[in-house]
């Protein structure tokens, strides 16, 4: 079994962090962010949807927003002195026209 990395938060969407055992569970940690889309990018995406395929502006926007939500979740976990978050899940929902909420949640744990 490899040593536990110091000062680093390990993320996993499985029940445990592969290769380690959970010593203590610290409860649910969450992070969320709401993003609205840029009008100019939206117009560009509108043109792109004439032919279909990838809308790169949306892909990047949602990627940034999801990373932000994930960072907030990790800060929540670190404030509880966790060194890992297991069973990470994502959820997306569209609130008021043109804005989306990106949500990340998981269980903070101390592994050894």
């Amino acid at each position: 079994m490899s040593p536990v990395p110091q000062g680093q938060l390990m993320l996993s969407n499985t029940e445990t962090i592969p290769g380690f055992t959970i010593a203590q569970t610290l409860g649910l940690v969450t992070g969320s962010t709401v993003r609205a889309k840029n009008v100019f990018k939206d117009i560009g995406a509108g043109f792109k949807s004439v032919v279909g395929g990838e809308l790169r502006a949306y892909t990047e926007l949602l990627q940034e927003a999801r990373n932000e939500a994930l960072n907030r979740m990790m800060q929540d976990a670190m404030s509880r002195n966790a060194n890992g978050v297991v069973n990470v899940r994502f959820a997306t929902s569209s609130v008021a026209g043109g804005a989306a909420e990106l949500f990340a949640y998981g269980t903070a744990v101390i592994v050894q």
């Binding site: 079994m1 490899s2 390990m10 993320l11 996993s12 969407n13 499985t14 029940e15 962090i17 592969p18 290769g19 995406a45 509108g46 792109k48 949807s49 004439v50 032919v51 279909g52 395929g53 990838e54 809308l55 949306y58 892909t59 949602l62 990627q63 999801r66 994930l70 990470v88 899940r89 994502f90 997306t92 929902s93 569209s94 989306a100």
Partner: protein, 177 residues
Amino acid sequence: MAEDSVASVILAVFIPLFFVLLFAFGPYLLSAVVGTFHQRGLQKRLDIRKQVTLSSLPIDPIHSLSRPANVNRPIQGSGLVMANLSISPSWWQMFVVSIHSLFGGNITTLDSVIRWGREEVIQRLREEALNQGWDEVINVRLETAMIRKSSNASNRKDRGAAMEYLIYGTGVRLSPV
């Protein structure tokens, strides 16, 4: 003189009618022709990328089991891997869908773009995992979210719909045997 008036009536009626039809359906025709070629090209490039990646590996590195498929090698490290993609059908496809939804049934016109989107995002996860140096990605989950809905009744301008695919899993690094 009768022939002249017939000709002028034809000119006065059919030429404006032609332009009206062109402006009304021209974008859809353009969308049908260019969109089909564009999407076919995307699928073709994806197939090549997929073949190149898979042929360089003994097994497909991503799967949805909760532990590594290779049980003989101990786990050295792990981390979260994600990839996402937002796609939209073409205007033409949305138009066909709106016709289809009157009668119901199988909508084959959307199959191509939906299938491309799913395969593309799976391939992106594969590439992301290889870039980050993971040997396998376990517990892969795929999620779909509607990020933009077409509203063809209330607002004629907004003909596009968009959906987002998110794929994530836990990358594991295995020790060499």
